[in-house]
């Protein structure tokens, strides 16, 4: 398959780094060259962007906020209010750093693929699955933190004779969360990237990708929002009492 031109990979190859052009062979679990594969390098780019960008725009934090600080304060407090609505003030304060990181990371990672020469790290299933597994583990850690060992009652249903029926159903629905959360994000973003690539090849000179670029902005925002919203719902479900 023809590869798109990804400028970080081009630069790294010019520097003599071993940039892999395919996933490792089946059954190989550790391949250190994969750290130079596009989804990794573009993840590092997004991380660097997210660290440097607020530093540049915000300046010093003051009592009376300036332009940049006002912008970030509006975003952050809006996000915290949104979380507090869904999982209570306490839970929102506790989980805010993680969820806000997910929100910003996924948003920027989705959007970066709209520029030629860049690639969305989230169009690779490994990245979205990693995010999802973090959310999944945190859900159950929160459950044990809030309920102690009684957390297992979440999986058993209301009456004892329903246990053999409810327990497998609950476990299956928890597993389905992993799949649906990761594959939704991956599928949407991969579809956007592939569609853009094909339209660029077919009729790039006639602005054919333009409508899909507009839709891409919309999809990027919606998918980042959906990921965070679903994480909030899962967290709050594991924090509340068993039904």
């Amino acid at each position: 398959m023809e590869h798109p031109i990804l400028f970080i990979s081009v630069i790294l190859e010019a520097l003599g780094m071993p940039v892999p052009h395919a996933a490792p062979a089946f059954g190989v679990f550790w391949d250190s060259h994969q750290i130079f594969s596009p989804h990794m390098t573009y993840t590092f780019l997004v991380i660097a962007f997210l660290i440097i960008m607020p530093k540049l725009t915000m300046g010093k934090i003051e009592m009376i906020p300036g332009k940049g600080q006002n912008f970030w304060e509006a975003i952050i407090s809006g996000m915290e209010g949104f979380m507090a609505e869904n999982m209570g003030k306490e839970g929102a304060r506790m989980m805010f750093p993680m969820l806000a990181t997910f929100a910003f990371y996924i948003l920027v990672a989705n959007m970066i693929g709209l520029m030629p020469g860049f690639m969305s790290p989230t169009s690779n299933l490994n990245i979205t699955l990693a995010c999802t597994l973090i959310v999944f583990c945190t859900t159950h850690i929160l459950g044990f933190k809030f309920h102690g060992l009684n957390y297992y009652k979440h999986f058993l249903g209301p009456v004892w004779w329903l246990i053999p029926l409810i327990a497998p159903i609950e476990i299956i629905s928890h597993m389905a969360r992993i799949l649906s959360l990761s594959i939704r994000l991956f599928g949407n973003i991969m579809a956007k990237e592939t569609l853009l690539g094909i339209l660029f090849i077919l009729a790039g000179a006639y602005f054919a990708p333009l409508p899909i670029l507009c839709l891409g902005v919309f999809v990027s925002i919606v998918q980042a929002l959906v990921f965070v919203l679903l994480s909030i719902l899962y967290f709050s479900a594991s924090m509340e009492h068993a039904h």
Binding site: E170, S173, A176, V226, L233
Partner: protein
Amino acid sequence: MMADFSTIGLTMAFSIFIGVGFGYYLDNKVFDGATKPWFTLIFLAFGVAAAFLNLYRVATRKDLKDGH
């Protein structure tokens, strides 16, 4: 709200899929085909039940009832 309802379809499909997959694994890998169709069918039923349970939960969520 759109976000919540966009999960229904995917979760339904994946619940059934995981049920069938796990049953198939039990039948063919753990018991080497001795129990051939039964675990697949039982876990298919569990998967379908999980899908509908999820549907029921979305429909009866507390915060949807008070008119959002």
